[in-house]
Amino acid sequence: MVLKNIDHGYKMLNNDNIIITILVLININSVIIGYLLARMRNSGVSSNSSQSFFSKLKDDKIVNSTIAIDDKKFVTDIKTDGLVKKYDSLGDVKQTTDNIDNSVNKLKNLKR
């Protein structure tokens, strides 16, 4: 009787072990497949979008959380008061029939 119970107990343990092993294998496979998929996606066209003028503006907001000292050269007061104009107009003006609306709309769509 005792032997029968032990035998039954072993069978139960074996079944549990098999189920646990299967679950562990499924988990490991999921992790491996996820990793491989991520690698495949990154190996395509690489684009350093952080350099973009438009992305840079968005990034600034994120980077603000990093605390760092600003050691850039300080711009002192640039005084132009002492310079007296001795002319009427400055520069050549040119009018073109160039319209930029299409360019602006196309870029806005791309940047969305």
């Binding site: 066209v45 684009s47 003028f53 310079l83 007296v84 400055l90 009018q95 791309l110 940047k111």
Partner: protein, 332 residues
């Protein structure tokens, strides 16, 4: 809204006027005359009548723009520049003050407080590590000046702005090269996103300097001959200055295309383009006859790593960067 090309040789403002673009150009140069006597002061002021000049509080006259170059040539001297190699000049004592004055005069006061203005800055050069080259400081100086005029100024890479002006029909995919006076700026763009940006420190001013050394003429004289003279790159010329200019143009194009090929070969951020790409070239230095033809030839000879559909000149090479800045200001 406005776009501003803050170049070593020209400052170009672009604004919209009834759906069209209006450009305002000003030559980025100055020449100082310091009178020694009160009589000389009166004589000089009379002689400068009709020229664009300002009077400093120390009594000296500062001639601005193309008049400065003309006056320098007249005196067999060289005009000064408030900018050197794309950034505010550390060599000239008065550079910052005069650049600020010129910028304020060109852009004027903002039409409303906080009006958006996008201006261009160069990329970090690949061929020089110079402490004087400080893009961040240059950007801050320009921002400070434009901010004082009431604008909300934003900086954009020079060649990126050129992409926005010239690559619309290619879905903003291709390469833009801005050949200015002080630098050559490059941007590789994929669907409106810049992937690689860099610059080299050899361009039009290098040609002037080298030709000046070769011929014994001042830089200003070489520059005036170069801009007014009739020459084609690679063809012999009877004028010794233009002959030297032509020879140095060939060397510059060879150098620039070699730097391009070297910088982009195996670059980790270089996109894998599906189709051959368009290369658009702009800037005053690219206006010499034969520039585009030789550039195209040298790209092949120097093993440029991308398949090229065509190399074209921008529609308006002197204004294209400023136009790109204006487009960027409207997309913001």
């Amino acid at each position: 809204m406005a776009g501003l090309d803050v170049g070593t040789s020209f400052i170009v403002l672009s604004t919209e006027n009834d759906g069209n673009i209006q450009y305002k150009d000003f030559r980025d140069a100055f020449y100082i005359i310091k009178p020694t006597t009160p009589v000389a002061t009166k004589m000089i002021e009379k002689g400068l009548s009709g020229k664009v000049f300002i009077k400093d509080n120390d009594g000296s006259f500062i001639i601005l723009g193309k008049d400065a170059i003309e006056k320098a040539v007249e005196r067999n001297d060289a005009a000064k520049r408030p900018m050197y190699r794309g950034v505010v000049s550390a060599k000239e004592k008065d550079a910052k003050r005069i650049l600020a004055f010129i910028l304020k005069e060109v852009v004027g006061t903002a039409s409303e407080p906080g009006e958006k203005l996008v201006f261009c800055v160069p990329a970090q050069p690949v061929d020089q590590e110079d402490e004087d080259f400080d893009v961040g400081y240059h950007e801050d100086v320009v921002k400070t000046v434009l901010g004082e005029c009431g604008y909300d100024p934003r900086a954009i890479n020079e060649a990126e702005a050129l992409c926005y002006a010239e690559l619309e029909n290619d879905d903003y995919t291709g390469v833009a090269i801005s050949c200015g006076a002080g630098m050559t700026n490059v941007c590789v763009m994929l669907n409106g996103e810049p992937t690689v940006v860099f610059s080299t420190t050899k361009s039009g001013d290098w040609i002037d300097r080298m030709s000046a050394v070769a011929t014994g003429e001042p830089d200003s004289v070489v520059q005036a001959e170069k801009e007014g003279g009739d020459f084609k790159i690679g063809e012999p010329n009877d004028n010794p200055v233009l002959s030297a200019v032509s020879a140095y143009y060939e060397r510059l194009i060879d150098y620039t295309t070699k730097q391009l090929a070297f910088a982009l070969t195996n670059h980790k951020s270089l996109p894998k383009f599906k189709n051959p790409i368009k290369i658009v070239v702009a800037g005053g230095t690219s206006q010499a006859k034969g520039y585009i033809e030789l550039f195209t030839q040298k790209l092949t000879e120097n093993n440029f790593p991308l398949l090229v559909k065509e190399v074209v000149h921008a529609n308006d090479p002197l204004h294209a960067v400023s136009k790109g800045c204006l487009i960027a200001s409207k997309v913001l």
